[in-house]
Amino acid sequence: MTETWLVIAALAAGTFALRITGIYFGERVPTRGRAAKALRAIPGSLIVALVTVSIASGDAAEWIAGGAAAVVATRTRNLPLTMVAGMVVVWLLRR
């Protein structure tokens, strides 16, 4: 409970700082070259790692559902729909 509030407060403060950094120091943020590429790749690399870790430690039902979710995500780009598709496949396989 306390931990959750701490994370909310710190994530709010940190996210606000990131947004303001772009406004005040935007001209110093690299837009081309290796540093810019590396910076841009951080969020995507992290999400891919999250998907990999959770799929790798899941069961066969989750691997299949992960494939189904990837197909729905690619075609629709819709987050809730992707979640529902993944959930339904897991539910069907575990019944």
Partner: protein, 206 residues
């Protein structure tokens, strides 16, 4: 709908409507909220939840930097307000309007941002109440929804072939760390994220 989805996910971390509402209003960055909440559920600790959420939000620096002309000559309170309200959606709307030859500036950004914030906070809190109607989350596959949400977020972050090298690197390293080395999930995430980012820098040819 995205908001409803977050509300449902947050209840798995035993968050109530107030926490979800405060988080939505003050953090106001959906993907990072999902990632941080998932790390809390995994009992990875507050630092890991915070670090993962902030790493995902690094792209907000690039977003506000790319529209900093909107804030030129504005007083500080307007910069702070507009900064907080800058998000993927109204940033894309602003650029689209300009590409169409329209004029869109500070008021357009703040107006659209306030609308997105109101919708986001309302729908995430509604999601908490929706989730409370579901009796047995695990039995209907709700535990898999985070993985599915990450897959959807990955799709939204994909910008083209240049992402292939960092993403394959990240998946290979995070996968090997988990399966072969039996690393704790949080360390595997860190290793995947860092090596993916480095691979993008190294593979760059300009």
């Amino acid at each position: 709908m995205y908001g409803l989805a977050f509300g449902v996910l947050a209840t798995q971390a035993e968050m109530d409507g107030i926490q979800v509402g405060v988080m939505g209003t003050l953090v106001f960055a959906g993907a990072s909220q999902i990632v941080a909440v998932e790390r809390l559920i995994a009992e990875a600790g507050a630092w890991v939840a915070l670090g993962a959420g902030l790493a995902l939000n690094l792209r907000l620096v690039l977003i506000t930097a790319s529209i900093r002309d909107v804030f030129a000559g504005r007083p500080r309170w307007q910069r702070l307000l507009g900064g907080h309200l800058s998000t993927d959606e109204n940033w894309a709307l602003l650029l689209a309007k300009r590409a169409d030859g329209g004029t869109a500036g500070f008021h357009y950004l703040v107006g659209a941002g306030a609308a997105v914030l109101a919708a986001w906070t309302t729908s995430t809190v509604a999601g908490v109440y929706l989730a409370n109607l579901v009796p047995e989350p695990r039995s209907i596959g709700l535990d898999f929804t985070f993985t599915a949400a990450f897959i959807a977020i990955a799709r939204s972050l994909w910008t083209g072939r240049a992402d292939l090298t960092p993403w394959i690197t990240s998946a290979a390293i995070a996968g090997a760390a988990t399966v072969v080395l039996n690393w704790d999930a949080s360390w595997a995430l860190l290793a995947g994220g860092i090596t993916g980012s480095l691979a993008a820098g190294i593979a760059s040819d300009d």
